[in-house]
Structures are given as structure tokens and as C-alpha cells.
Amino acid sequence: MKSHSWHQVNSASATVANGVNDRICHRSRVGNIIALVFIFLLTQSGCSTFKDIIETEQVKPWQRGTLARDDMQLNTDRMRQSVDDHIYFSKEASTGGSNVQGGGCGCN
């Protein structure tokens, strides 16, 4: 039976959402603080790291030793990436971004 507009649903749920959002805001602040700590630790070396990142140069073949290291690859662990793709596909509504691969699971 369809008796009312779709919009009535959204206004009724807003009151419930407001009370919950306070908890979410507090806990998300914790996540933001942790992120800021990471950024602070990262910048312990000062501005030099940031300058090193944005500095551009034409890299000669004999200067590519660092870029060839395993820990300098865009994907350093395929097993971890594969597991992460599955976990977050199952637990969140977003997918993809870093690669394309056919196939999936019934977890979402």
C-alpha cells in the first residue's frame, strides 16, 4: 500500500539521528586526534620531508635504485591488499579506486 510521500520518512528519522550524532562526533574526534598525532610524528623531521616530496627532477636510469626497492612499490603486499579489498567491500558502501579486477563476493 502506498499512502504517503517518500519525504515523511526522512523527517521522522531526523530526531533519532540527532541524538546519535553527538556520540559519533565525539568518537570521530578521537580518530581525528589519532590522525593528527600521525601527522605530527611525520613532521618531526621538519619541513625537509615535505620539500623532498614535492621536489621534482628528471631521474636518470642509474638513479632509480631507491624506486626499484620492494618497499617503494605502489602495492607492497598483494595479500594484504586483497584482504583489505574484501573486508571493506563487505563493511562499507564504497569500492575500488586502486585497481580493476573482475569477480566478487556475496558479502555486500
Binding site: 504517503h4 517518500w6 620531508t49 563493511k91 573482475g102
Partner: protein
């Protein structure tokens, strides 16, 4: 896909790998995952094995995955103990609506994947892949192809990728799907659901300097067919959360997804430590938009060991058709949305995820690598009755080259 088909795929892959040249290199990589949610919710045990053979210009790989999943998952029904309806529970005893807030499951998934990489003379690398998987309520088949072309002077690499997936979805107990937005008490069964997806990726990786690499990807994906979860429920309840009836959910029959992804890898000048950071913006036509930030700092302990703290932050908006429950009118009749689409699946709610973890790597010999990972995932939901979820992720991987 039957067990016989999987065996045939494995045999074909093994034959392809057996025809080796004396200069071929092999790598076997194996991994085991333990994923465990709090409050006796979902538990997953996953085993992955990759067998890779590298020749002069070609790399072949075969992958096997075995998942064992069990536990209880929120159905979308609200957790009210005040119900006007009584059902017979699974054990044969009478059960109230509140018992439908979670559904118990026990499932196993198996996947086989094949991959071929061919490196051409003109700095062009082609990748071809395919995967098939089967579980008790979901079959999937997918293929992908990608081309990576490195520019002159090797300053950058362009990437174009395409993937096609075909899925079949059905309830494990009946092999069917319920009529969308039908009352659970008088449900009508439909045949299994079919869905096809096409995804395209366009990317560019640039060498900024001898210690820094940056990547930018843009992806578009279009899926058509059955997107509903055949187990998910949405309750019709009044303002006091008294449940009048439970309905099966219904989702749109198409989805258009887009994302913009960026990644930066940098090794510090004064050490061998490296930073890995990424960001993704996602948007789809269901109204979901999200931001994902990832950051890992690899601290090299020695030539053979590293430790790597990691953090991932994620936030998403809710889907347009997501709602905690169906409203009822003055006559206690459920209000069905005009579009015939509604879902109370908590994963379509506005939510935030935070993952904190630590990775450890050790190479006992130059040809072997051990990787250990421990992470804690915490989620908070805006309106869903199950307002939070936490999980512990443990993964151990070992590879050997010969």
C-alpha cells in the same frame, strides 16, 4: 561453478606453468586471515595462496582463496521488543520480531584466479586476468585486462584497465530471491538474481624525484541487475518502534560508481624509512559519497626487518533510499516509498570507520618473507540500531622464491 569446473581451471593453470624454461623464477605466497567482530557477530577465516612464475617477458600467476564465514549479521529489522507479530523461530518455537534483528549464517567461499602479465619491447605491459568464485548463495565470474605504457625517459606510466563481472545471487536456503518489499509473512519467491558490472580505470603514475612516486586513478563502474540483499529486512513500525510487519528490502536495479584515487610513496632522504599515503573520493548514483584516507609509515629496523604502523580513516554518507524503518500511517498501514525502494542495511547508513594497525616484516633469508599484521577496525553508524561495530584483523603471510 561446480567443483569439476574448478578442477579443470586448476589443471589448465598447472599445465601452463609446468612448461617452464630453465630461467623461470617461482614464487609461492600464502596468507591466512582471522577476522573477528565483537558481540559474536561475523567471523571469517581466509586462506590465500598465490603461485607465480616469472619468465623473461611473461609472468603467470594462479591464486586460490578459501573463506569460511560464520556468525550473526544484522538484518536491518529494528531491535524493538514490542511487536504485533509472532513468527515461528528456526527451532520450531514461537519467536517475536525482535529475534529477526540478526540472522545467523555459516558459509564457505572458494575462488580461483588466473593472471598473465606480458612485457612488450616498447615499454608496454599488458595484464590479463580472470576469477571465478562460488559460495552457498553467490556465484561470480570476472575478467579484466589492463595496459600500462611507460613514457619516454620513464618519467611516468599511463594505465588503462577494464573489468567485467557477472554475478548470480540467491538465498542459500531456497535458491530463490524474495519479492522486493514483500511482507515476510506472505512472501512470494522469485528466481535467482543476475547482475553484470563493467568497470574502467584510467590512471597515471609519475616519478616526482628519485625517492618519490605519485599515482592518480579515476574509475567508473556501471552495474545492472539484481542489487538487493535477499536476506535483508526493513521493519514497518510506529513512532514508538512497535513493529507492525517486516518486509524484504529492495534496491535499485542499476548503480553507477565513480572514484578518484591518489597515492604517494616517498622514502626519506636521511634513512630507508618510507611513507605511503593515499586518498580516495567516491561517489555513486545511490547518493553515497565517501572519503578514505590511508597512511602507513615503514620504519626499517634492519636490512631484513621493518615495522609499519598504519591508519585508515573512512566516512560515508547514507544512500538516498536508506532508512531505519518504514513509517506507518494513521491506520497503522506501512508507508511504502513511491519508488518501491528501501533498505535498512546498516552498511548503507552514514558511517565512519577507523582502522589502526601495525605490520611487521622479516626476511629469514633473501628468498623468504614473513609478514604479520594486527589491526583494529571500529565503525560508528548514524541511525542504524546496531550503532557500532568493532573487529580484530590478524593476518600472517609467508612467501618463498626459488
Amino acid at each position: 561453478m561446480s567443483g569439476t569446473d574448478i578442477s579443470r581451471a586448476l589443471s589448465f593453470a598447472a599445465l601452463a606453468l609446468v612448461g617452464v624454461e630453465s630461467t623461470a623464477e617461482w614464487e609461492v605466497d600464502s596468507s591466512h586471515l582471522s577476522y573477528s567482530e565483537s558481540d559474536d557477530r561475523v567471523s571469517v577465516s581466509k586462506t590465500l595462496i598465490d603461485l607465480t612464475q616469472r619468465r623473461d617477458q611473461t609472468t603467470l600467476s594462479v591464486g586460490l582463496v578459501n573463506d569460511t564465514m560464520s556468525g550473526a549479521s544484522p538484518t536491518g529489522a529494528i531491535r524493538s521488543s514490542d511487536s504485533a507479530v509472532t513468527y515461528t523461530g528456526a527451532s520450531g518455537s514461537a519467536a517475536t520480531e525482535s529475534n529477526y534483528a540478526k540472522s545467523h549464517f555459516d558459509d564457505q567461499r572458494r575462488q580461483v584466479s588466473l593472471g598473465v602479465e606480458h612485457r612488450h619491447e616498447n615499454d608496454l605491459v599488458m595484464n590479463y586476468g580472470g576469477a571465478v568464485s562460488r559460495e552457498s548463495d553467490f556465484d561470480s565470474f570476472g575478467v579484466n585486462i589492463s595496459a600500462a605504457k611507460t613514457t619516454r625517459h620513464k618519467a611516468g606510466t599511463y594505465l588503462l584497465g577494464l573489468a567485467y563481472t557477472q554475478d548470480t545471487i540467491y538465498r542459500s536456503d531456497t535458491g530463490t530471491t524474495p519479492e522486493p518489499l514483500s511482507n515476510m509473512q506472505s512472501r512470494r519467491e522469485y528466481s535467482e538474481g543476475e547482475r553484470t558490472s563493467v568497470e574502467a580505470l584510467l590512471g597515471y603514475t609519475h616519478v616526482l624525484n628519485r625517492r618519490t612516486l605519485a599515482q592518480m586513478n579515476m574509475t567508473v563502474s556501471r552495474s545492472q541487475g539484481y542489487h538487493t540483499d535477499p536476506y535483508k529486512i526493513i521493519s514497518a513500525a510506529d513512532a514508538n518502534d512497535r513493529i507492525l510487519a517486516n518486509f524484504y528490502e529492495a534496491r535499485p536495479d542499476s548503480r553507477l560508481r565513480t572514484s578518484l584515487f591518489g597515492k604517494l610513496v616517498h622514502q626519506r632522504r636521511d634513512s630507508k624509512d618510507s611513507l605511503h599515503t593515499s586518498y580516495r573520493f567516491y561517489l555513486d548514483d545511490w547518493g553515497v559519497s565517501s572519503h578514505t584516507v590511508g597512511f602507513r609509515y615503514r620504519h626499517v629496523l634492519s636490512d631484513r626487518q621493518y615495522i609499519e604502523p598504519a591508519i585508515r580513516l573512512y566516512s560515508q554518507s547514507d544512500a538516498d533510499f536508506y532508512q531505519r524503518k518504514l513509517q506507518v500511517d494513521e491506520g497503522n498501514n506501512p508507508v511504502i516509498p513511491d519508488e518501491g525502494i528501501a533498505s535498512a542495511d546498516y552498511r548503507l547508513d552514514s558511517l565512519r570507520s577507523t582502522t589502526l594497525g601495525i605490520n611487521y616484516g622479516f626476511s629469514p633469508t633473501p628468498a623468504t618473507r614473513l609478514r604479520l599484521r594486527a589491526e583494529y577496525l571500529a565503525q560508528r553508524f548514524s541511525t542504524a540500531d546496531f550503532s557500532s561495530m568493532s573487529a580484530v584483523i590478524l593476518q600472517a603471510s609467508f612467501s618463498i622464491s626459488f
